[in-house]
Amino acid sequence: MDHGEALTLATTGAHDLATLARPRERIDAVSLTTSRREHKLSTGRPQRGPFLSEAFTLVRLAHRGHDVYFGSDGLTGTTGPDLLNAMRALVPHGRTYRKAPPLRPPSTWNGDRFKDIELSTTPDKTLEWLEADLNLRAEQERSRSRLTMKVAGIVVTEQISAEAFASSEGESDGFARTWSEVKVLYEVGNGDRTLKIWAARNTCRIRSLDTADFTAEAAWRAGALLAVESGERPEGDVLLPPRTSATVLRLLTQDQFEREPPGGQARKLPRSLIDDPHASAGGHARPFDHEGTRTAVTVLLDRTGTRAALVARGNLSPQAPHLTGHALRSTNSLTPTPLPTNVRLDDDAYTVPPDYTGLLGYGVRGGGGRGRHRAGDRLGFRLDVARVSQGEVVSRCPPLAVSASSPDLLTAIAAVSAPTCYFPGRHYSTAGSWMVLATPTRG
């Protein structure tokens, strides 16, 4: 399966459905195909499995001012007619909707930026480079962290996906992309103990993976897990590696954009929150949303504390009359609802000093999945914390409790590096950066 074949399949699936509209009906169809194969490297030549493919179809049927959505596994070439019959019975009970124009003119999408042609066509060469580079980085890490570090295995899951939109009124759009997961098994030792840990990151292109940063993060975490517990009550600023900072960013985004808007006055913030559907490193990059509206970079929360209105057909209002390209189906709702795609903070080009001394927050506990179902406006989680001296993890501390509102938490972020990667979630990806969290957020 290559990108062209995947896109052709998706496009055909969407168009076949869109042509089934009866007079005065409107059909919007989105077809998604995904093909995955696994490459494994341990010793010798890479081994790989075949591509395994899946598909999903999302259909909107609109008639006489009401619309309904229908989601079905697979492409619906043969099942389209009976699927639409079921939808026609439901459509009088659907929501009422209005037509609305997009907020912005169509943006351009450079599709080549999102494909890993090298991995598709010469996978052995690409993976041999990856293995050699990761081994080199692990060797280099020894001098900084004083840990022995060896790559014991690599698994790359290559995913080629394509998505097509077609409507019964003739609109059509489509894109294909690569999004791979790189998992590395490291053997790490500190002289007294050794352990094996998996580290994982996603990337659009294997050659774009920041292997130095990836290895450094794995070494910090391994150092913390190998260190002895000190019982020290942690105090002071905490350095968060990319995976931890991405989790914190996810909690902030959930709070601001997956629930009813928080109340209270807007307040000034030291940095803004940005949605970038065109970030090639982001797992949720896309040129159009599930209503067919073109996407663009959006400042979700600016430095005055003003939230952007993310608008889909379902939340149009006199104050927000334009579609913003954020209408996406999710595990919570087949009907597209406003969601961001790839979220990052505007950074201040922070870099971690090689001789960093201070606290390291190498994990988050208790924050996952709670964003939508909290009764109040405070975020609560605990950070796994270790003490670092001159770049070396010297001890592990008890977890640090953090309790703050999302504006307080944003204000407490003292420094942020440029994103080194994005971590995919179910609904959107969040950037992984090196982040310094200042003390006021402690609970």
Binding site: L52, G74, G376
Partner: protein
């Protein structure tokens, strides 16, 4: 069962039997085929600014085949949509089973998928009563799931899982502070095409209750980190024990526990706790006749008088002669895991009043437990209570929200101090290894001696 349903099930059974036979023909030592034809309807309503509007209507269709087989001594799993038999054949080939033949005709439309909806619109009066700045998101789900299992050991099982679930999420803005409350109800007898009055009554009740609870929480306070007796109201206790005890007694989790061999027969609390998995509870959202391995379900005692006496197993984790029928799966895309149906704490002998007696440290009362995390590796847990209040030593009640309850699971269960007799039931979504299923939760009021919490 209607004739259309019987014919539809028969067609699905033929497909299951075909894939089972093909697997054996191609050399599988064992094969289990799960065929699912589900079409779940969701209706959403938003109440805001004095009006109630339908905000979404959607149908999620999952028609597919999942095939578990043992080949060359290894378990493998392949799946594909029902109408993409070629895709399943390709997957089986990729999994090393050879070239499978494609079944003949595919089944016709799923009965009831296109049936009319009872369009009761019960919210006009509630909408006009909304507090200023208040809003409600109301969701109704209706399930129509045909689930069939055929295996090479002779299992033939067909089951229809129906019913409905209603959820309300209310948001109220107090003085600069938001509060939210969540209510829900479910009933396996609910159908979208009938019982409009009952559905409407339940819907209005849930919405009003959520609004009332959210308004009460606008006065909530923060108390910092505390350690005190904790009382979990009816339903909430089952959620906690499901996580701390129920999951630990699932066969796959037991297999990872180095202390598993000594767990059965061990006393986990001095209080006479009776905990069971009960798939026979009338109207339980996890109630069913057979599990997703096609085995006949029956209640499974897990803890008897505070002593561990049982475990939850599935086909792959225990033979039918000694195991339980607790194989459950989210959809045809997944193989079964040992899972709960309805986690049930039987009534105790304590009175609710005695469990609410004040203590010098006060008492935390939790009426609704939200989501949380439990690490089977370390035994640590952390849960959020969406709705709670603190009872001071003088008996004053202080509303709290988003209480973080945390600690060690074994110590927590040891501190169970009392069980009342006011059992009530609830439904919840339970996640495990990427699969979400609905389970029932039944328990009376429970009191724990001392737990750590923060608010």
């Amino acid at each position: 069962m209607s004739r259309a349903t019987a014919e539809f099930d028969a067609a699905l059974m033929d497909i299951a039997a075909h894939w089972c036979a093909e697997s054996l023909r191609l050399g599988a030592q064992y094969a289990q085929v799960f065929v699912e034809a589900s079409s779940d309807l969701r209706l959403e309503t938003r109440l805001r600014d004095g009006t109630a509007t339908t905000s979404a209507a959607s149908v999620s269709r999952r028609h597919g085949v999942g095939l578990l087989f043992r080949h060359g001594g290894t378990w493998k799993y392949g799946f594909a949509p029902l109408h993409e038999a070629q895709t399943l054949a390709a997957r089986l080939r990729a999994l090393g089973l050879g070239a499978a033949r494609i079944p003949g005709d595919r089944p016709g439309p799923q009965p009831g998928e296109a049936e009319p909806v009872t369009a009761a619109d019960p919210f006009d009066e509630v909408a006009t009563d909304l507090p200023k700045g208040g809003s409600v998101h109301f969701i109704q789900d209706f399930y129509r799931q045909h689930r069939l299992v055929v295996d090479s050991d002779g299992v033939r099982s067909a089951q229809f899982v129906g019913g409905g679930r209603q959820r309300a999420s209310a948001t109220v803005l107090g003085e600069q502070r938001l509060s939210r409350a969540f209510t829900r109800a479910s009933d396996p007898r609910w159908r979208m095409s009938e019982g409009g009055a009952e559905l409407a009554e339940s819907a209005v009740g849930l919405v009003r209750s959520a609004l009332t609870q959210a308004e009460a929480l606008t006065e909530a306070r923060s108390l910092g980190a505390r350690s005190s007796p904790v009382v979990l109201g009816p339903k909430a206790g089952a959620a906690l024990l499901h996580e701390l005890v129920g999951h630990a007694l699932e066969a796959d989790n037991l297999a990872k526990n180095p202390n598993a061999a000594t767990l059965n027969g061990s006393r986990i609390t001095r209080t006479p706790l009776n905990l069971l998995d009960d798939p026979s509870i009338p109207a339980g959202i996890g109630s069913r006749r057979t599990d997703d391995d096609g085995r006949e379900c029956r209640p499974v005692p897990l803890v008897d008088g505070g002593v561990v006496v049982g475990a939850l197993t599935s086909m792959r984790t225990a033979p039918a002669s000694t195991g339980t029928a607790n194989g459950r799966r989210e959809s045809y895309r997944h193989a079964c895991l040992p899972r709960a149906s309805n986690t049930s704490v039987l009534a105790g002998t304590d009175s609710v009043a005695s469990l609410l007696e004040p203590s010098p440290e006060g008492v935390l009362y939790i009426s609704s437990l939200g989501s949380g995390e439990f690490s089977s590796a370390t035994g640590e847990f952390s849960f959020t209570a969406a709705a709670a209040h603190f009872i001071t030593p003088l008996g004053e009640r202080i509303p709290l929200r988003d209480v973080d309850l945390y600690g060690d699971s074994r110590q927590t269960v040891e501190r169970l101090a009392g069980i009342a007799d006011d059992v009530r039931g609830d439904s919840a979504t339970c996640g495990k290894q990427g699969q979400s299923i609905l389970i029932g939760l039944y328990s009376p009021t429970l009191r724990f001696d001392r737990l750590d919490w923060r608010c």
